[in-house]
């Protein structure tokens, strides 16, 4: 699918039915159009995904940088919305802060796993001076680590904080949907290890794929739609007004 087509499609979507319908009509042009679905209600904060991703993709385990991480939100429901107290906790190393009861201060808690959104209109791709970032034909955004000059412009430009400098490699790094695995027909490492099925990955052009089915049936949203980045990571059950 051409990027322009993808943009056109997403731009017109408001509810799930038309998006999936529109995305799938592109079948003839290319064989695959990858997407990722995160079900916020299913995440239990075990952090398996964070660790599996770091192991699979050689990201330093103990440094607070990660291709995928989990944000925990704790909200005081007993105060008016305008004064809502929100506490945010992040798991991006092997240490799991969600296990500590003290971290859940308020009455309502939920977890939001995050990763690179593989934006169809990706700010990081737009700003990279040396074309080290690019879209594959399946819509995945990749970094060519042999070309990246480490100017860090992409880190500054990404509205999601999904890209970081790998201090060992001296180039930027981010989620690739485990490109080395998905091209062999495997699932991304985080999807593979998630015990509750909070993460799903698949091809939107395949009517049998799990992401196709979920997005066809359920209401979904994306992070920061106002940025116009047209993410390929879709969320179910996201409390948009609270999640950063």
């Amino acid at each position: 699918m051409k990027r322009r087509d993808f943009i056109k499609l997403i731009a017109t979507l408001t509810i799930s039915a038309p998006i999936v319908k529109a995305l799938t009509t592109q079948e003839q042009e290319t064989d695959k159009s990858y997407a990722f679905v995160v079900d916020v209600n299913k995440c239990i904060g075990c952090g398996n995904c964070v660790i599996a991703c770091k192991v699979e993709n050689d990201v330093p385990m103990d440094l607070p940088i990660a291709r995928t991480w989990v944000e925990g939100y704790s909200i005081d429901e007993n105060v008016p919305l305008s004064k809502t107290k929100v506490q945010k906790i992040v798991m991006n190393t092997a240490k799991n802060p969600f296990l500590d009861k003290k971290n859940w201060r308020y009455s309502k808690n939920f977890l939001v796993p995050k990763l690179c959104n593989h934006c169809a209109n990706a700010p990081c791709v737009n700003v990279c001076p040396v074309y080290a970032r690019f879209h594959t034909k399946e819509g995945v955004v990749l970094v060519d680590k042999n070309t990246c000059i480490g100017c860090k412009y992409c880190i500054v430009a990404c509205p999601y904080g999904a890209t970081f400098l790998n201090p060992e490699e001296k180039v930027t790094d981010k989620c690739t949907f485990c490109f080395h695995r998905i091209t062999k027909g495997l699932k991304p490492a985080c999807v593979e290890v998630c015990p509750t099925g909070a993460r799903s990955f698949g091809d939107l052009n395949d009517k049998e794929s799990i992401v196709y089915k979920i997005l066809k049936e359920k209401e979904f949203s994306v992070l920061k739609p106002e940025e116009g980045t047209l993410p390929r990571v879709f969320y179910l059950g996201l409390e948009e007004y609270l999640v950063e």
Partner: protein, 396 residues
Amino acid sequence: MNGKEITFIVVSLLIIFIGALSIYQMHTQPILPIEPYETALGIPWRLLVAQYVFFAVSATGLCIVVSLGELFGVKKLEKIAKEGLVMALVMILIGLMTIGLEIEQVMRGSYAMLGHTNPSSLMFWMIMFYVLYLIFLSFETWFLLYDDLLIQANEGGLRSFVAKLLTLIKIENSKEYAKVLGMIKLVTAVIATSTLGALFSVTHLKLWHDPLLPIYFILTAIVSGAALIVIGVYLTDYFKGLNERHEVFQTLRHVLVVSIIVTILFTAWKLIIKAYPNSTLLSRMAVYNLMSDYAINFWVFEFLIGLILPLMLLILPKTGQKIEGIFVSSLLVITGMVFCRIDHVVVGQLTMKISGIDVTFVSFHPLEILSSIGFVALFVFGYYLAHKLLPLGVEV
């Protein structure tokens, strides 16, 4: 060469050496395995980027101020053309060196030279324009100094050798060429600096996301350029025991007053609009970060010391009519401008998160600070060398 001069050279070289070692340690870590500031705990663009912005923008400012004399007929400023251009040249060279050494994999810049570039990236255009600017500026300076170099060639010693080397190629009407190149260079400099501003504007970060930022960069370029040339000319005259360029200082005083007033207006409206209740939450947060967490930086250094105080000193006849008064104001302006660049680059990134972590307050690593001081020393030393080797004799 007297004792003081030798001390100056030794100290400068020492600071430059320490700066170079710090940069080396930051990039290759032969001593410590991983520097903490390189993880996501910190913001990606840091002190050296702010320093680059300062150098690059100031170099443009110097060119704009010089061109007032050279191209736009402000006769009194013609007398500082050579010094201004050489200062701009040293400044942009050190500036490009700063950013080159800040980038993690600078050697891969060769890919870019081989055409592996992204024309939708403003960083690419900024580099292109600054390199073009450097080329035009070098040739212009050469043409402008050419006649004096011919005279200097007969002096004997190292100066004569340098002059002979630079006059190996024979040219006539060098001043005419200098004028044409001066015009082209000015346009390139303005485009380069506004592209640098735009590079920040096009991000999602609220303190930066502003269509007027490129113009703001040009405006503040004039402020810092005028202040720097005052400092340069004052110190040169002081060490050469001269005291005869009153008119130059008075003209620069006017340039400074006007540009500072416009900068105050610009800054005030920029922040008021971004902090207005109708602006987005993030935009208001960004201004709040600047005004509260970085209150000392902003209110004391950037605003009071950098703009208000020098403006008062310049306007008051008692101080403004004295060379010393203008010199002190310029020192204050430059202090403010340094903080202005740091605040712009650093505070601008504070609404950002990396891997879910909020960046709240940034402290600079000692190695960053040392290398930054090293670059400043390199600039001062470079300008001193230029005075020693080039015909920058003061025109009165």
